[in-house]
């Protein structure tokens, strides 16, 4: 009918969180190998994580590090080797060089292209299909019409994010470590895990002299300040032929994925059953309460990413 999926970075979060609303879980934080016990950089933890997800009747996908340098390729290869021995349902790749690595290793698992794979066109989807890519996460700058065109004109499944902060930038170094108080950091330069606190980039607050901008920073990745929200549009999304939906969980507080997932599970099931849409106002209120900076529609309706074109 449809698949609702989200992401979980490590075993602790997987054990403690409520992910019962989801059909599938993307395991790992693709942005930061240093994140504690990150599935994406700890091959020894993959089997336990995979078994836990499978025991819940869900599919398990493994996220690979998004921006590997030459120095990272050996350890990423170890993660791949471990993953290929396990019954993951797919591997998620952002870096195109890793597609070559997977081919050389004889990977038979389906491959999903991640958000930083820069999928903008059906022609690119066709090329990637030749590398074993079966699902793509379109670049967030695409409109719904463009995503539908890609789905219709390339033999590939598209993932449609429906809620959560939009990944905007990824870099190879940690912005939080570079700018937090040096006296609070380990002398050996190792990670101080300062990202366990929320960090925000803000500009123009209160004085009216500049644009009022807000972004959330989690170290090696910057996210939109506002949460993408498509809870008003489940019927439209299904009518357009989309069947895979995603809630972005990375960088959120415990409990976020559970609350948001339950709302979207109910909305999508109602729409899929052809039932009349319920009053969306309570859901919007609950989702607004979960957000720190409010809601947006991303680029889906052809505007700058932080706009909200709500019907309510």
């Amino acid at each position: 009918m449809f698949e609702l999926c989200t992401d979980v970075s490590n075993l602790k979060e997987l054990k403690q969180g409520d992910f019962s609303a989801y059909d599938a879980i993307y395991l790992g934080d693709f942005s930061c190998p240093e994140y504690p016990n990150n599935f994406s950089s700890h091959p020894a933890l993959l089997e336990e994580g995979l078994q836990l997800v499978k025991s819940r009747g869900q599919k398990a996908y493994l996220r690979l590090y998004a921006v590997p340098s030459n120095h990272d390729l050996p350890w990423v290869a170890e993660v791949i080797d471990a993953a290929l021995k396990l019954p993951f349902d797919a591997l998620e790749v952002h870096n195109l060089g890793l597609l070559r690595v997977l081919r050389e290793k004889g990977c038979k698992l389906p491959i999903h292209l991640g958000v930083f794979g820069n999928l903008y066109t059906h022609e690119t989807a066709k090329v990637l299909k030749g590398y074993g890519v079966t699902r793509v996460y379109p670049n967030p700058e695409l409109s719904l019409k463009e995503i539908a065109y890609i789905a219709d004109n390339a033999p590939i499944e598209v993932l449609v994010p429906v809620h959560g902060k939009i990944p905007l930038v990824i870099s190879e170094t940690c912005f939080i470590m570079e700018h937090c108080d040096a006296t609070k950091q380990p002398a050996d330069g190792s990670c101080s895990y300062a990202c366990t606190k929320d960090h925000w980039l803000k500009r123009g607050r209160n004085d009216g002299s500049q644009a009022d901008w807000s972004l959330k920073d989690i170290g090696r990745m910057t996210l939109s300040g506002k949460d993408l929200c498509m809870v008003e549009y489940p019927e439209n999304l299904l009518e357009m032929g989309f069947r895979v939906f995603y809630v972005q969980n990375k960088g959120e507080a415990p409990g976020y994925a559970g609350k948001v997932g339950a709302i979207y599970r109910a909305a999508l099931e109602r729409a899929a059953a052809g039932q009349e849409a319920a009053d969306v106002a309570p859901a919007l209120t609950a989702l607004t309460d979960c957000s720190q900076e409010g809601l947006c529609n991303g680029y889906y309706f052809e505007g700058a990413g932080q706009r909200y074109f709500g019907r309510v």
Binding site: S143, Y149, I166, L201, G303
Partner: protein
């Protein structure tokens, strides 16, 4: 053979770059080259610039490095064929799908992978070679070890910007959509498009360089710091001998949006420097003073540019 690639943000700049010794000029057509229209060129101007360059033995490349919309893909390929018919010898592209498509359409053309592709390792070189690229551009931040690692790994052509930078901050060409998340404007008639296609990554809408303005950064409730999101890159020189020895074949000067006089002086400077290395020199210390002066001018012009973009961003709707 080592080539100096120079920007042509206008017909005048194209002619100046040719006259000052560029081996290759590159030009962006309206709506397809990740620059505002002021730094792009009409098809007629590209035709004229190409003819001028070819008459003097200089190659012309066209920058088609937007991620085109799926809806404009045939237009994108038609543009490439049109420019090839004018005598353009190659293209600088970002979209992966465009590489094999252009290779099929124009088998003899030279295909450069744009900085917007976000190459980060040697395995990327394998990927892009396999899908039809002739040249990849390497990240600003790479030193000689990284360059040499790719050279050992692949026979693909290597291109570097004439920039150097530190490896901190949000340095992520091709992996950033901050600007369009915050602001963008409607198309202008002159850009030849009247439809939504998103951002600087996708056409003539501007990247507002929001990474280069000041932000407040910190944990809510604690003291914040004021900062830019990345350090500015600066003009590079000392690395030229070792990069050339390591097999870098193309050195690219940025600056289609800079004043023509600045590009004139930079092309002249780097022509001399490259020829000096080709003549056997292994250090360029004699160029130090001239480099310092050019770096100062570059920073001054860049500051003006960023201020202009931020001023525009304030006035466009979200």
């Amino acid at each position: 053979m080592t080539k100096l690639l120079a920007p042509a943000g206008s017909l005048e700049m194209a002619c100046v770059a040719v006259d000052e010794g560029a081996d290759v000029i590159y030009m962006g057509p309206l709506g397809f080259s990740r620059r505002p229209y002021e730094s792009e060129m009409s098809d007629a101007a590209i035709r004229e610039a190409t003819a001028y360059a070819r008459a003097k033995g200089v190659e012309a490349r066209v920058v088609l490095n937007t991620f085109p919309s799926p809806f404009e893909y045939s237009q994108f390929l038609d543009k490439a064929r049109q420019f090839a018919d004018m005598g353009v010898s190659g293209f600088i592209v970002t979209d992966v799908g465009a590489l094999p498509a252009l290779r099929r359409l124009l088998p003899e053309t030279v295909l450069h992978v744009s900085i917007g592709s976000g190459i980060s390792n040697a395995a990327d070189a394998d990927f892009y070679r396999a899908v039809g690229a002739d040249v990849i551009i390497l990240p600003y931040r790479w030193g000689i070890d990284e360059v040499a690692a790719v050279r050992r790994h692949s026979d693909i052509g290597l291109e570097v910007f004439l920039f150097e930078t530190v490896q901190t901050g949000k340095i992520c060409p091709g992996k950033c959509i901050m600007s369009s998340y915050l602001r963008f404007r409607d198309w202008l008639e002159i850009e030849g498009k009247d439809h939504f296609y998103g951002s600087a990554n996708r056409g003539a809408k501007e990247c507002y360089r929001v990474c280069q303005t000041t932000w407040e950064f910190g944990v809510p409730g604690e003291t914040s710091v004021e900062l830019k999101l990345r350090r500015d890159a600066r003009l590079m020189l000392a690395q030229l001998p070792e990069f050339m020895a390591a097999g870098v074949s193309c050195f690219k000067l940025s600056g289609r949006e800079r004043p023509v006089a600045m590009i004139r002086d930079l092309v002249r400077f780097y022509r001399k420097a490259i020829d000096t290395v080709l003549g056997g020199a292994d250090n360029l210390d004699s160029f130090t003073d001239e480099l310092a002066e050019l770096r100062g001018r570059w920073v001054h012009e860049k500051r003006i540019r960023v201020d202009t973009l931020m001023d525009r961003a304030k006035h466009y709707a979200t």
